[in-house]
Subunit: 498 residues, 2 copies
């Protein structure tokens, strides 16, 4: 493995062949399917440090590191690796190519097992929800009961959001970047132009152009290049294009007064369009853009209702100059989550790069995601099944319980299970000194508590302020559900978390 600092090094794409059927949102069924995926870092013993990162329209499973013999790293290498936001020293990162794609997962260019030929336009129409359901099969296959997080930008952000609704208990955290809760007519319009360009190309031929078995052969390359050109404009901002190209001419001293390429921006777009046709399948472009258009998490027209089932703690990020998925769409997600009393943090990346800013502003993205992922809450690290003692006990019984269970704190509960106090070994010592016989005489009744969703930084501060070494964790009804100790927090900080 070549060791580049901060890089995951050489990686290989793996394939999961799922041999059972998957029913799609349309009602159609895949009899079986394949998912290409890559993983980085190690799954820990508790299998609870896995993060699924979802890719955008033209992405693939290769998010970080290098494929043998290639010198171009994965598409989000800037934020995935040792010490980066998706820290492979701490997390087990998973990325899989979406179904409908052309990078190893079952898509229109795959062989239809029922005909022995490529699906082409016979491939069923899929949705973001179908993509997520397929990913769920992979996560199950990896025997991960709960993801630490799902994350993604653009269409990847839509998948992350869909995950929180389709499988609310399957993740602790969700990171949604430069995305939306539903596709808008402007987004649909741009996608439809791209599709129309492909379908209008005579080489598309009703989706049957796989004769040579490889999609970088003929096919509707002109249409696909056009689609990509349109798409690419929407990924940049007016300002970034100014900065990058201005009105610079391409290999000319003056305008040509003909229809050859005059401006650098034209040359750049042609190049983007042409190279895209070397690496992407036109039919996949049709199916994936359709899935994006269909994406709509509103319910009865309400995103608040649509996100009501989500349970994850959220980080929502937008890019200031993104006009394809403008900040207001991220803010709508934040508002809907807040209305559902979900924990949500929102940040707008300051950038002139437009939509692509989520890939290019890796400094800001690294910072925001690192801060978010390492923001452990009390619920993540508290002890559950905490030994307690009932009020009315004697000091002698209390002391024996402590010694037997080898604990230093005993929350004191009333008969109906409410937290009424806490007693420590130090209180026992006091009882001994002053000859108190009953627990009531020695326990602290003015108990400081915390809740599962309080950040550990805040809990730690509370302990320091009150010179105490543990905090009972209670629910809204003041029922005891756990205990957090300074020892546990200290250990956590020492080794990094989770």
């Amino acid at each position: 493995m070549s060791m580049i600092k901060g890089s995951v090094g050489t990686v290989v794409t793996q394939y999961y062949h799922h041999t059972a059927p998957l029913v799609l949102e349309s009602g159609d069924t895949f009899p079986s399917l394949t998912l290409a995926y890559e993983t980085y870092g190690k799954l820990n013993r508790d299998r609870n440090n896995a993060i699924l990162v979802c890719h955008a329209l033209s992405g693939d499973a290769h998010i970080a590191g290098f494929h043998e013999g290639e010198d171009k790293p994965g598409w989000w290498d800037a934020v995935v690796g040792p010490g980066k936001a998706f820290d492979t020293d701490r997390y087990f990162i998973i990325c899989s190519n979406v179904i409908g794609g052309c990078k190893g997962s079952t898509g229109p260019s795959s062989i239809n097992p029922q005909t022995g030929k490529p699906y082409g336009a016979k491939f069923p129409v899929i949705t973001i929800s179908d993509m997520v359901n397929a990913q769920k099969l992979l996560i199950d296959h990896l025997k991960i009961l709960q993801l630490y997080a799902v994350a993604g930008g653009s269409m990847g952000g839509m998948q992350a959001l869909q995950w929180t609704v389709s499988y609310p208990d399957m993740m602790k955290k969700a990171i949604v970047i430069a995305a939306t809760g539903y596709s808008t007519p402007q987004q649909i319009a741009f996608n439809e132009v791209g599709r129309k360009a492909i379908i209008s190309d005579p080489e598309w031929n009703g989706g049957n152009y796989y004769d040579t078995g490889s999609y970088d052969a003929p096919g509707p390359v002109k249409g696909l290049a056009l689609a990509r050109m349109v798409g690419h404009i929407t990924y940049l901002s007016d300002e970034s294009m100014h900065a990058k190209f201005g009105r610079s001419l391409q290999s000319k001293d003056r305008i040509g007064f003909d229809f050859s390429t005059d401006f650098a921006v034209e040359s750049y777009l042609h190049h983007q369009g042409d190279t895209f046709t070397q690496r992407f399948d036109a039919n996949s472009y049709l199916y994936i853009t359709k899935a994006i258009d269909y994406f709509d998490l509103t319910k009865d027209g309400s995103l608040v209702k649509g996100l009501a089932e989500a349970k994850a703690g959220f980080l929502v990020i937008s890019v200031s100059s993104d006009w394809l998925y403008p900040p207001y769409q991220s803010q709508e997600i934040v508002s809907a989550l807040t209305a559902n009393e979900r924990e949500v943090r929102y940040s707008e990346i300051r950038s002139n790069y437009g939509h692509d800013g989520f890939l290019l502003e890796s400094g800001q993205v690294n910072y925001l995601i690192s801060q978010f992922l390492s923001r452990t809450i009390v619920g993540d690290v508290m002890f559950r099944n905490v030994p307690t003692i009932e009020e009315g006990a004697t000091t002698a019984v209390t002391a024996r319980r402590m010694i037997n269970l080898e604990v230093n704190h005993l929350p004191v509960l009333s008969g109906d299970g409410h937290l009424v106090g806490i007693v420590t070994s130090w209180d026992i010592a006091k009882a001994v000194a002053k000859n108190f016989l009953w627990l009531d005489e020695i326990m602290s009744k003015d108990v400081h508590t915390t809740t599962p969703d309080e950040p550990i930084e805040s809990a730690a501060k509370k302990m320091e302020e009150h010179s105490i070494s543990a905090l009972p964790v209670v629910d809204a009804d003041q029922h005891l559900i756990g205990l957090i100790t300074s020892d546990a927090i200290s250990t956590l900080v020492g080794r990094g978390n989770p």
Copy 2:
């Protein structure tokens, strides 16, 4: 003529055949050319009430009223007609189809006199400046020495701006709406996508598709429709598309899970694309978008330098939600004009309609243009060659001069031509009463003055405040250059102006 209130009624397109050559910016020459144009209202005796309105990419000469047998009015009927901003009761409105177009003026679908066949791709590449030079031939033909104003939105605004630079003395006023001083890379990129769509269409056939002699025959209709679809998205705003379409389905109860049209916005775009191919020539689309791309009034990278020669009084208007020609581009024009000490008024139309707002917000456009056009300045209505008298004259000489010249005011000049006072017939009466013999004893020495660029409203107010009936007009050196009287202003207001 059918009389619809506020309409110019039935109109006919006229044709000016210019039989002399026109040299183009590229160095190519048209041996002769034709301009289709329409006019509305009457040219006054002084031939100084003409306004040239320039059209946008897909526009034509038919700006207002109705063609015989048609029930759709001209493209800017909302602002051209009796009592509207371009008031045909006061102004003589001219609109001509640009060269390169396909609406009657010489363009790629016209017959090349040298070959007897349509120009096609042999048509020379033209620029906005060439369009303006061709329009100038028409204005000369109409024997108009100076236009009262040139005006236009989008590409029409570019032409208006170009006019003020190419022919600075040819207009008093210029109205530039939703335009720019130079095309940006984003604008070029969208145009290039459109051109690429047309050229990629096999039916384009190198520009030779006029076999049937009519461009609504085969031709590259798929490519042209695509180009129009892209263009149309850029004319709308995200917000207006939300309002107009939302995620409404087109003739469906639920999404179709296929590639037929799902959303209303898709159907709308298809319709826009398809109908456009019935009325527009693909080659004209290539040539006109190229002219737009080439448009760049900066000189040595500076719009200040580029607009240095302009002399007109300007009204610059942008649309708040226009992202194709965003307000900052209009503001750059305003800044450059201001730096050149030109008179310029700027307004941003509040609208959610995007670029199309300049056509759709006719209420705001009517108001702003009306206000601007009727804002007459002192220089427009002052008397020049004003009789004066030198200081040191006797009251008797002064009185005789007044009577002989039939004037009521005589500005008093020093030996070196500076204005030092003013004398009226009332002062003469005073001299008689008090037996003053010298002009010095009776003239007002604390003279209120005005300047040629002061709005007449302001000059009128000054006269009222000081209970005087005339104001000498002076230049920056206090040299007398004219006189404005309350009688003249009163007459003007009574008959409307100019």
